[in-house]
Symmetry: C3
Subunit: 342 residues, 3 copies
């Protein structure tokens, strides 16, 4: 149920300060992460090849990590370079090392064939370190199959219901966006015109507005959206004209821990020029909204887990959800048969 | 392990105020319950037919309920009557609806073939709303196979041991009741003569007493008992003569959540004319006693679960237990082969 | 994965005061333990033969125990001697009784063929009740396969790493002990010369020391060590000469609850003549150190459980670990084929 040949987010950069070793589990595989002396991130199998002790309990020595059970030392490539008490290192003593890239304040780990780990495949996003945007990062654990969260992102009709307290907007359920299939995902765009502000902003925005939402969901699990709010009636031609009142980016990644859990990394922010209060409000709003998603999706997952073969009835809003599921199933099947997914 | 064609208690009526949706699981099936505008109880499958979201997170609209994931609306029969954003409702869009009856302050749900849901099959009981009796309702979750609780109710020799602190009475283990097989259960009756009061009442009853216990256990899981206490030696002919000091009813239902858990709904009460203090005492006594049962039965269930094939040695007190088990096995087998249980 | 024909520690003697019934699980089997009137320990199956109620909820009557569900009474041999309400005890009404011995303040239970329960097979140890030694007992639950704890004890190179804060001593990982195979285990002995004191004692011992460690690990799970510290350079011939600064015993037993958990019983102490402060310090040190082991071994076990077939790479320090594993596998295989393990 997982695409392997892709970049997964293993955390925000601030999760991994120099000198610290952290544990992560991605698509069921245990990882230990730490930084080399040059700051680069090492991601290795969190299981010593000797007696399977967890390497995240290890200690960093220069660019290497030492297992703190019996002292075997591994270099960033995963090769064992020292066995205390014996001169010779067994030739097969090694742990798996995973390619990593740090970009846009996310630590990306390639879980598949290392030879195919191309940083060009990392999706575009805007991180909390961006000079112009005040992105506020956060994360939540969902007790659910990660694909249910991807589904959720591909059908914004749920804003009307799940997020009636935070976002609201009856129009989301009664209109349809433009859906475009991309090479590795879906692009979804829509105008929502002459509506009240999102609920969590109505204490400061009491008028009528046009909103433009434009997002991509890329395999396996990255969501990036530009969301703009205009004075109603002014953005007649498209998102680049009109009286722009609020301009935001939100970047999100839904990372499968295993078949039953996922970590949701997300940020939302406005331009720094808009002042901190705007981004404070967005950060609070998205966190509340994602708690609403968490309750609904965890309940949905519990139902599916209890009765995995029960039939689902399709509706029109499922269009993008279904296309993305097919894309992912093709990619997973292609990896299994040894044929490249791209 | 469950009889389907029968009425199960889904809760006390006060568990379901108007405007609220509650979740229940009975014989492994998830239910969402709410009230129609006329107060009648709707019980439907707690799983939207679209993407399996839990309907107990939904919102009531008139007599209908709307799934708050993507907004599908269902009427009390479970039929989908609206899909936001599309004109046509898919013809098979529906969730299962279960027959319900509210009686004696219990909400009853029929888990089997709806065509056979005959309210006449609901057992007699006396509810907290009774004009003459001061019945005090309560409930407990047991981490055990519900049949172990039914067993427990069919053999009161355990009062001497499990309930030595609350009920006591050495005589229960050393005498036998009259056992009568009913069409759908067992009736058990006994006189216990010239004994001290039950332990939890001895601070106000220090004499010697005759007690009369007369109860029925009906498939799958209802227990109703009339319990009377007389001045010792006065009730020579039967429960209708003698110097009646305490007259009570207790109504109980043991509802399987699934194979491993059950909810125990119970009440005990005296006539209102006896004053509140009497029923206060009964309510406290039964709750303490059922905590004693819970500890014992959960320990028993843990043993059985760890070693389900270990042999049991029968004793004379098992007579009613064994007969009831056979009745239930026949009913379950009859349902499976499509032959009516009655 | 368990040797059956051996003595397992079921607890410290103070865990079982007269009149109390306690529950234990050893190699997956539930036991109820209590004391006869003469103080001797009875260990019986914690499952009544009637309806499988837990006997640890029972009550002691003289030398017998009564199941407090329906009152069946069992003598110390496990034979049912009374069924309340019937004259005849069913001939097969009995629970299993396990041989016990109390020695060195440990309660030992024989989990295998009772006919082979020879008290001579109980390993030597020194208990908290010893007249000369101030042994301080304690225990910890490990969520791990007990064999991983045995492995840990057979390779003290881990002192350098796991216990770097408490014990430390770089030399443990870089030197090797003398290993001798015993009939039912391993003996391991070593000198560590001209080193600082163990870390947790350095606030009172700032010099250089020679240390002598001499321990046996006996199947399935007993560890007994004499540990001595001398002024560096004085103990030239062996542990019996030299300027002895600290003389200690530690006795430990790792008892499998089931395949996934074990209870670690342990003590450490100095001669009473050395004063209480010394043994206070040892008790605190060993507890801290075993918390360090617990974290590492539980992490190791989680890795093994998640991926039981992953390969392990052997190193030189595994010598005693491997020999002990082979000894245990032979003993287990011999029991299965009906051939004596000894």
């Amino acid at each position: 149920m997982f695409v392997r040949n892709c970049w997964y987010v293993a955390g925000w950069d601030y999760d991994l300060p120099p000198g610290k070793v952290i544990a992560r589990k991605i698509i069921g595989e245990p990882l230990a992460l730490y930084r080399r002396q040059d700051g680069g991130v090492v991601a290795i199998e969190d299981r010593c090849c000797h007696r399977h002790a967890p390497l995240h309990l290890g200690e960093i020595e220069g660019d290497c990590i030492r297992c703190m059970y019996h002292g075997m030392k591994f270099d960033p490539s995963g090769r064992c370079v020292e066995v205390p008490g014996q001169d010779r290192v067994p030739p097969r003593a090694a742990v798996r090392s995973y390619p990593t890239v740090e970009r846009d304040n996310w630590i990306w780990v390639w879980m598949g064939d290392a030879a195919r780990a191309d940083p060009e495949l990392i999706p575009f996003s805007i991180g909390p370190g961006d000079p112009d945007w005040d992105m506020r990062p956060n994360s939540l654990l969902f007790n659910a199959d990660y694909r249910l969260v991807i589904d959720n992102l591909l059908d914004f009709s749920h804003l009307t219901y799940v997020h009636r307290k935070t976002f609201g907007g009856d129009i989301f359920a009664y209109t349809k966006p433009e859906i475009t299939r991309l090479e590795r995902g879906m692009r979804i765009e829509r105008w929502v015109r002459n509506v009240p502000a999102l609920n969590f902003t109505q204490h400061i925005m009491q008028g009528r507005y046009d909103m433009h939402l434009d997002y991509s969901v890329l395999m396996p699990c990255v969501f990036v959206m530009r969301f703009k709010v205009f004075t109603a009636g002014t953005a007649v031609e498209g998102p680049s004209d009109g009286e722009l009142l609020l301009d935001t980016w939100t970047c999100q990644s839904v990372v499968p821990v295993n078949a039953e859990q996922c970590v949701y990394y997300f940020s939302w922010g406005a331009p720094k020029a808009a002042g901190q209060e705007t981004s404070n409000l967005l950060a609070k709003g998205i966190y509340q909204a994602f708690l609403e998603d968490k309750e609904m999706i965890e309940g949905q997952y519990a139902n599916i887990k209890a009765n995995p073969d029960a039939r689902m009835i399709g509706i029109a809003h499922d269009a993008a959800v279904n296309q993305m599921r097919i894309l992912m199933e093709h990619a997973i099947a292609a990896e299994k048969t040894g044929i490249a997914a791209e």
